[in-house]
């Protein structure tokens, strides 16, 4: 189903939702930078810049409470967080590279343990995707099999038109329900043409071959060569739409406190630091290797998907210019070079 949504009606739609008590989350300027956040009114929305953090935080918060404790004498009282208290949300202006990561994350969060915090937010959130019309040389969604018009992860998908309005694709039941509720704001598609889509410049990877190469190159000079300069921060993982590692800590005093879940990153030295003092990933290149392996091999092994959508955020913000697109391009090259016609045999 395709509908037309004028620019004005798009904003009216959001304001209607907000006044109806729905939390509308969209990119908005926050202390100088675009970040996703709940809108007070639709005009706060900023759609021409990719938010610094991905849309994953709408489902997987930067930090959330999962439990609280209180001690009284010898008694300890525990209180669980009730996921039912999460608000109904419409997530707006999500570019394909962010939106596509959401169903990818479904894999891990509904795997052997069902993460009710993630899943409840997922249930309560309707995603309105937005086709992407601008790319820089850090962008590489097309290299990982996505496109600037990919509707994966979106319930509704907007394509900007030359007249300022949007072509609205209805991609799910949730999307359909939202349109049905506000049907008077939509009309049938007209003659206005879509704006040209973004065109990332990185050539496509052969993801199967990249994985094949990774399967056989746990030890490789590439890792030292590319990641010795890694300073071990968590910026890449934190801005990534697909990275989903988290840490659980108890914060509080002897008497009361909270158990909290917050983003973690495999780049940190402490990430795999054992209580014994041993650290299996004792050097930064090993930690960086894990990042690549997880994205292009391990996640694929387990969930059949690649954990990278090519948004380019990590490329832009890496303090020391580590460029995942460049590294995977290099791996891609090596994979094609060294793969005989029949494919590499796995040991």
């Amino acid at each position: 189903m395709q509908k037309y949504l004028s620019r004005h009606n798009f904003y009216t739609l959001l304001d209607t939702l907000i006044s109806g008590g729905i939390r509308v989350v969209a990119p908005r300027m926050t202390a100088g930078i675009p970040l996703y956040g709940p809108l007070g009114e639709s005009v706060e929305m900023v759609l021409d810049q990719l938010p610094r953090r991905s849309a994953k935080e709408a489902f997987f918060p930067v930090c959330e409470d999962i439990m609280s404790y209180e001690k009284e004498g010898q008694q300890v009282r525990l209180t669980d967080v009730e996921p039912a208290s999460f608000p109904e949300t419409v997530l707006v202006g999500v570019r394909p590279c962010d939106a596509a990561a959401i169903p990818v994350l479904d894999g891990v969060f509904s795997w052997d343990y069902k993460d009710e915090f993630f899943l409840e937010r997922r249930r309560k959130t309707t995603v309105i995707g937005l086709a992407c019309t601008s790319a820089d040389d850090a962008c590489f969604c097309t290299a990982v099999g996505l496109s600037p018009a990919d509707t994966r992860g979106s319930d509704l998908f907007l394509t900007p038109l030359a007249d300022g309005g949007y072509l609205c694709d209805v991609c799910s039941d949730k999307g359909e329900a939202l349109v049905a509720d506000t049907i008077n704001l939509f009309s049938e598609p007209g003659s206005s043409t879509p704006l040209p889509l973004a065109a990332p410049s990185v050539p496509a990877f052969d993801l199967k071959k990249v994985k094949g190469w990774l399967d056989g190159h746990f030890e490789d000079p590439l890792w030292d060569g590319t990641a010795l300069r890694c300073v071990g921060c968590g910026a890449c993982a934190f801005v990534c739409p697909a990275c989903h590692c988290f840490d659980i800590v108890d914060e509080g005093t002897e008497k009361s406190g909270k158990r909290r879940k917050s983003w973690d990153a495999c780049g940190f030295w402490k990430f795999t630091h054992h209580a014994s003092g041993h650290n299996p990933r004792d050097k930064q290149p090993k930690r960086y290797r894990n990042r690549i392996m997880h994205k292009f091999k391990y996640y694929d092994d387990k969930f059949g998907q690649t954990l990278c959508t090519g948004c380019g955020r990590c490329v832009r913000i890496c303090p020391v210019g580590i460029d995942i697109a460049a590294i995977v391009t290099e791996i891609n090259g090596m994979a094609i070079e060294c793969t005989p016609a029949g494919g590499e045999t796995r040991s």
């Binding site: 989350v25 918060p61 930067v62 930090c63 409470d65 209180t79 208290s85």
Partner: protein, 167 residues
């Protein structure tokens, strides 16, 4: 009688004092042996020397709900450990500027030299800080901050609303 007075007297500020054991703690002891009277709001933490007092403790005290913090030690030259208070003096000269810059009202952070012989000065410093802070009202900044969440992790729970009401 005066309505505004009853309101202000409802608020009992929490004042935390970090003191060195040789001078100010002893000075506070002297105030006790001399049966001087002062507001009961202050809670004293004893350190061997002001040199031991890490700025993080001040931060922690505010985070734990202190409305006023006092740091007090030996007069210059009187340090039991030769120079601990000189180091502390520099450290706190810098730290208070930092706190001020991030928006902490320095009226809530008092530094003093109170010797073992100055029971009266201890009473004076504690009383003055307590009354000043009482008049200023609770230190909301850190208390509010403690309840603040990233939007993504925020919930609308009755418990949280209760907490907001309480501060």
């Amino acid at each position: 009688m005066h309505p505004e007075k009853t309101i202000s007297s409802d608020f009992e500020p929490k004042v935390i004092a970090f003191v060195c054991t040789w001078c100010t703690y002893a000075g506070a002891d002297l105030a006790g042996t001399s049966r001087m009277q002062y507001p009961s709001n202050v809670r004293v933490l004893k350190f061997p020397c002001t040199g031991r007092i890490d700025p993080v403790f001040i931060l922690k005290a505010f985070q734990q709900g202190a409305d006023g913090v006092l740091v007090s030690g030996c007069h210059p030259g009187d340090c039991h450990y030769i120079a601990g208070n000189f180091h502390a003096r520099r450290r706190f000269a810098a730290f208070r500027k930092l706190l001020e810059f991030v928006g902490v009202d320095l009226q809530r952070l008092q530094f003093s030299w109170v010797s073992a012989a100055e029971g009266g000065k201890w009473v004076e410093v504690v009383t003055e800080l307590t009354e000043k802070v009482r008049a200023m009202g609770p230190m909301m900044e850190f208390k509010e901050l403690a309840l603040e969440e990233q939007w993504s992790g925020a919930m609308i729970s009755p418990e949280l609303q209760d907490a907001y009401r309480q501060i």
